[in-house]
Every structure is written in C-alpha cells, then in structure tokens.
C-alpha cells in the first residue's frame, strides 16, 4: 500500500527534478514573409534535440488570421498556445487585455543595447516587456537592373519622385507594361506600404491623440499611390495583391520596381523561384526631396507567451533559443537578425551584402504605425478608406475626412 502511494510521488519528484519532462508546446507562427515554414521547422527541430522531453507542435496561419487566433485562444482559458508570433502593432492591445505574459524579469538586463530599438518596440508597452523580438523587418525597394539598363537608366532612383519618373521612362520605352507592383489589397500589407510613403513624405498618423492622416505628408502619400495607379505605372491588380503576389509578379519579370519585405531578396535571387535571379538590386525605400533621405516601416514581430500557457518556462526556453544570436545568424537569408553585432558577421553578410547595407540604412529610419490599443480598428478604418481612394471611388480629401470621423467614433 505504502509503496503504491509512494511510487507515484517519487515519480513526480523525479519528473520535476528533470529539466522539462514530456511537455508539448503549442506554437503559433505565420506563413507569409520572413522565415519560411521550413526554416522554423528546422529551428524547432534543433531545439527539440537540445531539450529532450520538450516537443513543439507548430501551427502556421496567414498573417490575417494571426491576431484573432491569439485572442480567441488566450481568452478561451486552458489548452491554448504556449508561444505566439505577434506583430509590432499589437503589444498595446495585448498588454491592456492581459493576453501576454509579462517577461520583463526574464529578459537578461544586458540585452538592451545589443538589440535594435525598433525591434524592442515590438514587445514593449509602458516599459514592460511582453516577449522577445524575433523578426526585424522592413520593406525595401527592389529593382530590376536589367530593365533599368534597357531603358538607359544608369542609377536607381534616390527619391520617390524619381521612382515615378523612371517608371514612366520604362513604360514609354516598352520595357515593361506596369513598372510598379505593390501589395495594396484591403489589408495590413497596404498599410505597411502606406506607412513607408507617409514616413517619406514627413507625415504622421496622429498628432497627440488627434488623427492627422488627412493632411500634409499623409495626404501626399496616398495621392502618390493613387496617381501611380491612375497614370498606369502601377500594376492595376496591385489593389488585390498581398506580399506573395508582389513576389510572384516581380520574380516573373513583370515589374521593374517592387516594395517588399526582406524575405523576397533571397527568393527573387533563387533561380528555382524566380526568372530574374541575379538581375535584382535592393535598396532602402527612398525619401522625398527636402524631406527625407530614405523611408521604412517598422514591420518587426516578436515571440510571446500567452498568459494562459501552462508551460511558461519551457516556452521561454524555446523563445530564448529561437531569438538566440547564433541561431538567427544561421537563418539570416529570409529574415535578418535583431542583433546589432550580427550585421558585421560574415556568415550573415556573405552573398547578401547589398541587402545588409540597405538594412543598416533602413533600420535607422524605421517608422512605427500608430501605437494605440485600438490599432486594429484604426487600421481597418484606414484600409477601407485608402482602398476606396485607390479604386477611384472617392477623392483623397473626402475619404480621409470620413476616416477621421470614424476614428473619432472608436470606443
């Protein structure tokens, strides 16, 4: 009898004394830009090898489903995710709602300066930390060198106005039907392109708590977008495109310029994925004369632990592994590390010197999207109204005035 009772207890003691005993972690990632599914699977397999007893169940969803999955799973109580990938625009909302575990005390104090500030903003709200930055990403301007030289253009554009001028030359000379391609579907992808242009034009979304996207630089940004469509320089199907469509069109040699995330650099130069491999240049998105030198949107993402996870220690171990400097340097083709030092490490820069050089300029000017708890709603309102401008349904003044009205109705 006594033995029977003691046996399970001793087993329990044994189990807790072992580091992590037979835990399955549920992890939520996205399958859209940045690290590929194959990369993430390889990283977690390495982690499982180093940590016997922990297995990781991976789930990949499109970016559009990520937010709602995190929310519903965290609010549902137990058996949710243990690790989630989340976007730079959500920590305010997630922190207010208590969806993520505050890990301020787990993060080593000496990390602060080793990681870029833009990456930290992804996981920080009110100076508390809710995870580790993992993807430090922004949208770069990719250009097709061959097409430019066919049109007699010697240097790539240094301002957004030049992008338009060179596109006109490319179109007039019949080099390419639609020189520009963008991800302007009614989605967050469009907001990222828009943010880049707002930053370039010196605009802002809010002044204090007041919406400011209906004037100055922000208005100029949407007008730039609408004009490029109207003049036939932008592929009209852009208003239906996501990032992967942009990559497909650009890789098929059907566009001379494209704005896209880091991951496109490796794929567009991969002959098995692209018809234009080796002909592509990459640079920071340009600026606007007299206003900015370069422009960029902060598209970073972080890894966090939902507050209802029952395996926080194990989850933190996985997060620490995935965000480890060495691990990130080993997988630096589709997503560049969050670590400053990595940008001078040979294994990172080798073969993608142009991208790394563009990154060091772009990271310095990364512009945030509005940091407000109601971000999702602000973004949805903007998406609708920007889209209606691009489709020629409304004038930019009218649509954005309406958007301001809608934003002021947010509860």
């Amino acid at each position: 009898m006594i033995i029977k009772k003691l046996l399970p207890m001793s087993m329990l003691a044994l189990a807790t004394s072992m580091a992590f005993a037979d835990t399955e972690l549920n992890a939520l990632f996205m399958s859209q830009a940045a690290y590929s599914e194959a990369d993430i699977k390889a990283m977690t397999a390495e982690f499982e090898e180093n940590n016997p007893g922990i297995s990781v169940a991976l789930e990949f969803v499109p970016y559009e489903a990520l937010h709602d999955k995190i929310i519903t799973s965290a609010a549902a109580g137990t058996n949710g995710y243990d690790i989630v990938l989340y976007d730079v625009v959500w920590p305010a909302e997630f922190a207010e709602g208590g969806f993520l575990t505050d890990v301020t005390d787990r993060v080593p104090k000496d990390l602060g300066n080793q990681i870029f500030d833009g990456a930290w903003t992804t996981v920080t709200y009110n100076s508390r930390i809710f995870g580790m930055p993992w993807i430090l990403d922004t949208k770069y301007l990719f250009f097709n060198r061959e097409m430019l030289s066919q049109a007699g253009i010697e240097t790539p554009p240094s301002t957004w106005a030049e992008v338009m001028e060179q596109s006109q030359i490319l179109k007039d000379k019949g080099v390419v039907k639609y020189p520009l391609v963008w991800s302007w579907s009614q989605s967050e992808a469009m907001i990222c392109d828009y943010t880049t242009l707002v930053a370039a034009h010196g605009g802002s979304f809010f002044e204090g708590a007041k919406p400011a996207f209906n004037k100055d630089g922000a208005l100029a940004a949407i007008d730039y977008m609408a004009t490029s469509l109207k003049s036939g320089l932008t592929n009209p199907a852009s208003t239906e495109y996501f990032e992967e469509d942009v990559r497909r069109v650009f890789s098929n040699g059907e566009a001379a310029f494209a704005l896209n995330w880091t991951y496109m650099n490796a794929l567009v130069n991969d002959p098995s994925e692209s018809k234009v491999a080796g002909k592509i240049g990459v640079m920071p998105a340009p600026g606007v004369k007299g206003v900015s030198e370069a422009s960029a949107v902060n598209g970073s993402m972080g890894l966090g632990i939902p507050s209802n996870s029952a395996h926080k220690d194990e989850a933190w171990a996985l997060i620490s592994y995935l965000t480890d400097k060495k691990v990130q340097e080993n997988y630096a083709k589709l997503s560049l590390p969050v670590w400053k030092e990595s940008y001078s490490v040979k294994s990172v820069t080798e073969g993608q010197e142009e991208l790394v050089s563009a990154a060091s300029k772009a990271i310095a000017v990364m512009s945030p999207r509005p940091v407000v708890p109601a971000y999702t709603e602000v973004s949805n309102i903007l998406q609708k109204h920007l889209h209606s401008i691009l489709l020629g349904e409304e004038s930019s003044e009218d649509a954005l005035a309406d958007a301001v009205k809608r934003v002021s109705r947010i509860r």
Binding site: E64, Q186, A237
Partner: protein, 293 residues
C-alpha cells in the same frame, strides 16, 4: 388519470426540453444580457457594466453598419430569388422523362455537396484576375477585350460572390422541388390539359400551389442562411474591395474578434437575429395568405 397523463407527457418531454433549453435558450439569454453590457474580451477579469441601450444606439447610428445591412438584404433577395426561380425551373426539367435523366439528377446535387469554404476557394481561383478560368474563357470567346478584376472592383465583386453562392445552393431548391413535384396529381394536370389550359396556366394554378409548401420551407431556410452570410465572403474577398462586400455578419465577427468588444458584438448579433425573424415572418404570412386564397 388526467393529471397523470399530463404529468407523463411533461416527463417524457422534459429530456428534450432540457437539452433544447441548454443549447438554445441559455446562450440566447446570455447573448441578450451581454448586449446590454460593455463586456470586452480579455484574459484578465475586468468589471462588466450594464450600459442599457448604448450598444444598440452605437450600432444603428453606424453608417457602415447600415450600408452593410443594405448590402446583406440585396445579397439575400438576389441570391434566394434567383435560386428559387432557377431551382424550380431545373426541377421541372428534371421531372420530365428523357434519356440520361438520372445521371443529370445526380450531377446537379454535386455543387451543394461541396463545402462552402472549398466552393469559395474554387470560385476565387476561377475569378482570379490573371490566371482565372473565367477571364480566359471570356477572352477567348472575344467577349472581353482585357482580363478583368472580378473580385477587385467595387460594385462587381458582390455580384460575383452571389453567382458563386447561387451555383452552390440552387441544387437544394431543385431537390426539394423535385420531390414535391412527384406528388402533383397527374390526373388533375391531364384534366386541365383536356380543358384547354396551357403549360403556363397549368404550372401557375396547379403545379406551383401544389409544391408551394415544401418550396417555401427551403426558401425560408435559404433566406436565414443567406442573411447571415459570412464564410463565402470571408474566403473570397474578406469584405473588400473597400468594404464593398462587407455583409452585416462581419460586424459581429469584427466587434468580437478584431476589436474585442463582446458586449457590442452581442448587440449586432441580436439585431441580425431580429431582422431574420422579421424576414421569416413575412414569408410565413405570405404562405398563409396563399394557402387561404
């Protein structure tokens, strides 16, 4: 004896009533209560306040919601209307004797057997602006000069979704009508033919009234479904372009899962349920009139 009988009746009914109460009444009352509060979805407990009609006032003064309601009613009337006419017409055809009828009867149910999500993805591919079958077909036939953006053009996108919805759902109307058509008394039809009634007259005065009951049931079912349409739109356009396909159900989803306002989301849900009820009542009143007249 009488009392015992009555008790027995309730005792026998009670398991069913309890289950019904648990799965319909309780959630309904809960949703109703929620719709008068400011509850939000959070992972930490926060106080929930009773705010009266505030959520409802917010909803009905939301111009976007009113627009979406109009869009939903358009979707419902158009798709159910066409499904009804098309369904009965095809049923009449399949009720005739001709070689290959059974094969055709089998084939016609296939679209209905396809899950909505699969149907939506399939049509999204067919409508694809660059490599969609529709563009290729119309272009090769010389009907369109250029490839069109079917789901990317406001004003057109909703109609394209309606088409996909009709394709999937009209077989249900066909099947119910076909079953009802088998019960139409042949002698009555023959008698009227002898009396000199034309095909249209026979259909209008004998066939249609005869199948009206089952037809109405299926149309009511389709109306309820069409009014709360969400999945097919979500997969095909996510409500775009520029919200031109955003139906009323999107607001329930959006309030809950995008904006985390469960109280407000509940009020949208209650509003939609109320409007559905009105639509269904109209059908029933119409049906009763028809039965009496």
């Amino acid at each position: 004896m009488v009392i015992n009988k009555r008790l027995e009746k309730w005792a026998l009914l009670s398991p069913a009533l309890v289950v019904l109460g648990l799965v319909t009444l309780v959630p309904f009352v809960q949703t109703l209560w929620l719709s008068f509060t400011d509850e939000r979805i959070t992972a930490i407990s926060k106080p929930v306040n009773w705010i009266g009609l505030e959520n409802y006032i917010y909803a009905i003064t939301d111009p976007d919601f009113i627009e979406a309601l109009g869009r939903t009613i358009y979707f419902t009337l158009t798709s159910v209307g066409i499904e009804g006419v098309l369904g009965v017409a095809v049923a009449l055809l399949l009720n005739q004797k001709f070689p290959g009828r059974n094969v055709l009867r089998f084939l016609i149910i296939l679209p209905w057997a396809v899950p909505t999500i699969v149907n939506a993805i399939m049509w999204r591919l067919i409508y694809h602006p660059e490599y969609g079958a529709l563009n290729s077909f119309l272009w090769q036939m010389g009907i369109i000069p250029d490839y069109q953006s079917w789901l990317g053009t406001p004003g057109r996108a909703l109609n394209m979704i309606i088409f996909a919805d009709i394709w999937k759902n009209f077989p249900l109307v066909v099947y119910i009508s076909l079953a009802a058509l088998q019960t139409v008394p042949m002698d009555l039809l023959q008698a009227s033919r002898i009396e000199g009634a034309g095909a249209w007259r026979r259909f209008r005065t004998i066939t249609l009234p005869w199948i009206m009951g089952p037809l109405l049931v299926v149309l009511v079912l389709r109306t309820i479904e069409a009014f709360r349409v969400f999945d097919i739109v979500y997969v095909m356009t996510r409500g775009g372009p520029s919200d031109s396909t955003k139906t009323a159900s999107f607001f329930v989803y959006q309030e809950y899962f995008n904006y985390l306002r469960s109280g407000s989301g509940a009020s949208y849900a209650v509003l939609l349920a109320a409007i559905s009820t009105v639509l269904i009542s109209i059908y029933y009143i119409g049906a009763r009139r028809q039965a009496q007249g």
